[in-house]
């Protein structure tokens, strides 16, 4: 259900390359299968024409790449931003993580993305995927063609999309959307309604699967530390593997805490987790609490905003009160 076609993006990229606006293009490279696209920087027209790709599997958040890519060279980089990417883009700017001058951002409308991983769990032996309007045709090796509604294959983060509106761009392709009134906190609320024992069992079950591959951290646009505390032998909390169930919790609690107020809820952590741990539910809990304790705040909505965790008012709720409120009891 792409609103903008590959050709539109490609032509825009070629145009900007040609007129000298940009020197390089951050986009997706085609893969082996339709779903395994890879982020790549294209240095010239030929490379773009050959391998540039834009389809419903281009879900990865490009913002974090800007940190390393802008540090590499003085050349100007074109980046295509989906609405959710643009929040991370702003958040990174707030934290001075890359040089805005070196980036030309083109906003791309997004009708939601599919996840190759999720799809492959629904369908065995996928040989090709094509999207026609709101239908998805999946060709398989042994089971013929299957048809799905686009909606049913949407990844969780896209089902609960918070915004179709770009908050940063130099230029926009197509029409901009609106900030949505999503149901993204429904699942958090469901957990809050559980008894502590149930919640504990739920999270123990989820987090115990963690293999500490660090994919969640390494993909997270908010995790941009020069050296993560969990990698730093001097931090006192360094750990490479969850040698005990405690360490899984420690890692994920602290990671969520460190991105609290900075997490734009882009959903990359859950997308990349090879073990399907719903990590976004940790981040969303913080977002939900921040909203309910200190007023609505969307990280990345504007550059330079002050996150509630580094702010205060004199009449904030007390921690004990907050925990009650966090239950939805108040």
């Amino acid at each position: 259900m792409q609103e903008v076609t590959r050709d539109a993006l490609l032509n825009k990229a070629l145009e900007l390359l040609k007129n000298g606006t940009v020197d390089r293009v951050l986009g997706y490279r085609v893969g082996e299968f339709s779903y395994d696209v890879t982020p790549a920087v294209f240095e010239n027209e030929d490379a773009l024409k050959k391998d540039f790709c834009w389809n419903s599997f281009c879900g990865a958040n490009f913002s974090k790449y800007l940190i390393s890519e802008t540090a590499k060279t003085e050349k100007k980089l074109l980046v295509f931003l989906k609405p959710c990417d643009s929040y991370s883009f702003n958040q990174l700017l707030t934290e001075h993580r890359f040089d805005r001058e070196k980036v030309y951002a083109v906003g791309v409308p997004c009708g939601g993305m599919l996840s190759g991983k999720d799809l492959r769990e629904k369908v065995e032996s996928v040989s090709d995927v094509s999207v026609n309007g709101d239908k998805v045709t999946v060709k398989t090796l042994f089971d013929g063609d299957l048809e799905f509604d686009f909606e049913t294959l949407l990844s969780d983060r896209c089902k609960n999309c918070k915004s179709k509106k770009h908050v940063a761009y130099d230029e926009l392709l197509g029409e901009d959307g609106e900030v949505l009134d999503s149901h993204r906190f429904d699942e958090v609320e469901r957990l809050e309604q559980m008894t502590p024992d149930e919640r504990f069992a739920f999270w123990q079950g989820e987090l115990s699967r963690c293999i500490r591959c660090n994919a969640c951290r390494d993909v997270c646009p908010a995790c941009t530390c020069e050296k993560c505390v969990f990698d730093n032998p001097n931090s006192g909390v360094q750990n490479k593997a969850a040698a005990d169930s405690f360490e899984e919790k420690m890692f994920h609690i602290i990671r969520a805490f460190h991105v609290a107020g900075r997490c734009t809820d882009c959903g990359e952590c859950s997308r990349v987790c090879p073990q399907h741990i719903p990590l976004h539910l940790l981040n969303r809990k913080f977002i939900k609490d921040i909203n309910s304790f200190y007023g609505d705040y969307q990280a990345g909505a504007e550059v330079g905003s002050r996150a509630p965790i580094v702010n205060y008012t004199t009449d904030d709720p007390e921690p004990s009160e907050a925990v009650e409120r966090g239950h939805g009891n108040a």
Partner: protein, 341 residues
Amino acid sequence: MRKISLSKLPELFSAIAKTSALYLPVDTKAGAKFEAWAVGKTLSNALNTVRSAKDFFFPQTENLMDFKVEGKNIELIDTRKECEDFVLFGVRACDVKSFEVLDRVFLAEPQDTYYKNRREHALIISTACNKPQETCFCGTFGIDAAEPSGDIVTYRTDDELFFDAKTEKGKKLLDALSSITEEADEKAVDQQKALIRERLQKLPLKDLKTEGFGSGKTAEFFDDPQWKELSSACLGCGTCTFVCPTCQCYDIKDFDTGHGIKRFRCWDSCMYSDFTKMSAGQPRLTQLERFRQRFMHKLVYYPTNNDGLFSCVGCGRCLAKCPINMNIVKVMKALGGREDA
């Protein structure tokens, strides 16, 4: 050759579990996973488990030994224990092959006794792959998904499971199960093998070849300019390493419990930026070098030291799990696809 009706699987599992611990793939909400069998648990239909079977021999973390420190004195406590016998049921051809790859590392002199202990007490029941996936390329490494190795090989038809014992150990177990299994002839199995082989021919990666890679090819690939492009999107996470059945790098760390020191081993990844970091410096500074190391190791270094055996079994897990969809297939195609290769 023996067989059992699929409807009698619970009986079979219960019979095996009576003599030793039994692990088999079961479905969880996060995909198939090897779990200890218990009444009520059913065998997963998924092609393969999310995590590889290497965990049984080379777990994510394991305690190596303990120390007690008192003043200037140290007491070393050997915490090793004889492992109990266990049966691994439903291991796929690729994963069975991965045990050979791991063996050549851990059982090379000096032998790793932690690994050896578990390996010796394991009985592997493998299963041929009725329905391989588009990400499968075990054939590239000479693995026949229709003919896995293992102590016992099983084939599954629509209603029956066939057993073929390949080792003494396997025969012994099969004999012990003779009361609930029945004699079978090989026809049905041959038919199944033919079906599998036919399906293998339909796989998109069936033509991926290892030619050009292998023993002694360091110079051919090391300075290839394509590494830059291939590695550029790599996040440096350890997903590929940790789901890989053959990756075996580890780290040894000490943990101070407050009343003693536990020295443990845990998985490590050559993709991590601090993998080779030492106080004197860092020989692999960029992700390019670390990325290259992983693939060079699988495709060149390991074969050089192990009679041409590759350190990849084509299970396709990294294809499925890499956050940015970069994987060994793409690397092989890019590097092997050169005109001058």
